[in-house]
């Protein structure tokens, strides 16, 4: 049990894991004693010291593991919104490139935006998911420090959004469906980003994605921060992994503004108020489906997370590809057109 923890709400798990570790270590000791040539066959010594027997330890281990599983299921089925945000940011959580390499049998990356440069925070390219040819667009946050810095921790620049659009239009030209994987705290706030038109790049993506004549499926796989997320998420179907978050601003940003300071308490309050969990977004009509994650989160079992994601994407693509394109584009418009909540008084 060598999982790296940074999540304090997992303390009950850690306590059980320490017990498991101790039990396993003792069992191993006893068994290695058993296996040494020249020693008599293992027999439980008389219980005078209170030391556990191997049989007892085996029973304990089973019970501990059962308890661990139960606690894990419990914790992750009742995550607070702020803890959802922290799970979504878990360093071991699979990222865009992890999902791409696991989902696609081959991946032919396309780097160019034809304008300024190659933004590593957004990865685009052709790949097959099952047997379906797709254009994949994904945020990448970075794993090692050098990659994180190059990717600006998943905060894309205008050239990233423009690369995405240029390649999505390429997909449209050849009727290739588009799959986008969203995982960003937000678009990058910097001098160059502003100078090169961050706002314009995102706005143009919103406008153009709404009328692309090819099926589009988007999934928020981790963080869905504001316009930076939406900039690649105007789609026929939008899903969220169960422990992802998606809303108009990060909880810390919201807390800093509306609660005048960001700390553990205000971040928790902001995360709750923003209704940013997958379930909340489903209730608000912003997404179409919550895609389950393995028990304890995608970071505990990335292959299982990939399998669940693949299943959902393939089902959506199958259905969307069978529909006439005019109907599809019209339905996409209506999907976003009806979002919002307001009262309307009689005209006076």
């Amino acid at each position: 049990m060598a999982t790296f923890y940074q999540l304090d709400f997992e303390k009950p798990l850690r306590d059980i894991e320490h017990q498991i570790d101790a039990t396993e270590a003792r069992l191993k000791e006893l068994r290695s004693g058993e296996g040494t040539p020249g020693t008599p066959p293992f027999v439980d010594p008389p219980d005078v010291s209170g030391a556990p027997t191997a049989a007892q330890l085996t029973r304990d281990l089973e019970a501990l593991r059962e308890q661990h599983g139960r606690t894990l299921r419990d914790l992750y089925s009742h995550l607070s919104p702020w803890n959802v945000v922290r799970v979504a940011r878990h360093p071991d959580r699979p990222q865009g490139r992890d999902f791409i390499s696991a989902l696609c049998r081959e991946f032919c990356e396309l780097h160019g935006d034809r304008r300024f440069g190659d933004d590593p925070a957004i990865v685009t390219g052709f790949g097959r998911i099952d047997s379906i040819k797709c254009l994949v667009v994904a945020h990448q946050k970075g794993k090692k420090t050098s990659e994180k810095l190059a990717c600006h921790f998943g905060c894309a620049h205008p050239e990233g959004y423009r690369k995405a659009l240029k390649n999505m239009q390429l997909a449209e030209k050849f009727g290739v469906p588009i799959v986008t994987l969203v995982d960003t705290p937000g678009a990058y706030p910097g001098i160059g980003a502003e100078q090169r038109g961050q706002a314009e790049a995102i706005a143009v993506n919103l406008r153009e994605m709404s009328r692309l004549r090819t099926p589009i499926v988007s999934v928020v796989i981790g963080e869905g921060g504001s316009g930076g997320a939406l900039g690649i998420a105007v789609a026929d179907r939008v899903g969220m992994l169960a422990h992802a978050w998606y809303t108009v601003i990060s909880p810390e940003g919201c807390a800093a503004i509306l609660w005048k300071q960001a700390n553990e308490q205000t971040n928790t309050a902001a995360a709750r108020a923003l209704r940013l969990t997958a379930r909340d977004n489903l209730e608000l009509g912003i997404i179409d489906a919550v895609i389950p994650e393995p028990v304890g989160g995608a970071h505990r079992d990335p292959p299982a997370a990939v399998a669940l994601l693949r299943e959902w994407i393939v089902a959506q693509l199958g259905e969307l590809r069978s529909r006439p394109i005019d109907e599809l584009v019209a339905a996409r418009y209506e999907r976003f057109r009806r979002l919002g909540s307001f009262a309307e008084a009689e005209a006076v």
Binding site: P189, G190, I191, Q198, S210, V234, L276, D280, F336, F342
Partner: protein
């Protein structure tokens, strides 16, 4: 990124108070001179000494742009329902009510048909005095209906923006207004309609990153703050001094993001001229 929103709000609130106090004279933030308030106001809320453009509300904007008595309001009956029952230090419902009482408007936008120097147009103005001109469901729906109206009627669309961005109190639904308005503009574009976007001080966040930057022609008032992220957020991120004039209209024109920087006195005639060139 709407971090901008209330940062600009807190930035702005004192400015607004000191910029337009109730007194006869006021100190101009542009030239630090004492300006006779009435004179500034009759000068389209522009400082007669230094050309500083004061921030104005939507009703005043419409008075300035539309031919006298030509403005016919549309979609005025919309109001927010507080769909998330959002509460921060204060319930959103209370904030809304206070803003409605303060401004006499239901939300941060006014829309309607008008004539600009005799040219028919669909005119839409955001209002900074209502929750910093932020875009929630009502603003998003009003803008979208305006775009759809302009598309159906074949009328040129003029949107005057000033906003802190998407409205946090409507959370994900505010974010979706960015997609909704931008998608409506795709249809206006498909129909060959003209959209003139006018950016005024300040235009930031989710409004900039949706309809405001999608004009066929984009005009900006002088020295308006225009950007995606707010200057403070950028400064905190990069930990550097920002260049002189960064994110101001003139900077955006130099960067290729804005077509013309237009003084308030020329806005009517510039809009009319563009309609003559590009309208149907």
């Amino acid at each position: 990124m709407t971090q901008v929103q209330t940062r600009t709000w807190t930035e702005v609130r004192p400015t607004r108070k000191s910029a337009i106090p109730e007194g006869l004279w006021l100190r101009c933030p542009g030239c630090a001179q004492m300006i006779y308030r009435k004179q500034m106001e009759t000068n389209l809320h522009v400082c007669p000494e230094c050309n500083h453009h004061y921030r104005i509300g939507a009703a005043e904007r419409i008075r300035q742009l539309a031919d006298p008595a030509s403005f016919q309001p549309l979609f005025g009956g919309l109001s927010s329902t507080d769909p998330l029952r959002f509460t921060d230090l204060k319930p959103y419902a209370e904030r809304l009510l206070a803003e409605q009482i303060k401004t006499g408007q239901t939300d941060a936008v006014l829309a309607g048909t008008a004539f600009v120097k005799g040219r028919s147009a669909l005119l839409c103005c955001l209002d900074l005095t209502f929750m910093m001109g932020s875009m929630g469901s009502v603003v998003g729906e009003t803008i979208t209906r305006s775009i759809e109206h302009a598309t159906a009627a074949g009328t040129p669309l003029v949107i005057v923006s000033c906003s802190g961005g998407a409205r946090m109190q409507e959370s994900g639904l505010s974010l979706m207004q960015m997609a909704k308005t931008s998608a409506a503009l795709a249809r206006l574009d498909d129909a060959g309609g003209l959209f003139i976007s006018v950016l005024t001080d300040p235009t930031t966040g989710g409004v900039t990153a949706s309809f405001a930057m999608l004009g066929d022609v984009i005009l900006a008032e002088p020295k308006a703050l225009i950007g995606f992220a707010g200057p403070r957020v950028i400064q905190q991120t990069i930990r550097q001094e920002l260049p002189e004039g960064f994110q101001r209209s003139e900077f955006l024109m130099q960067s290729g993001m804005v077509d013309r920087v237009v003084k308030r006195h020329d806005l009517r005639s510039e809009i009319a001229r563009i309609i003559d060139y590009a309208g149907k």
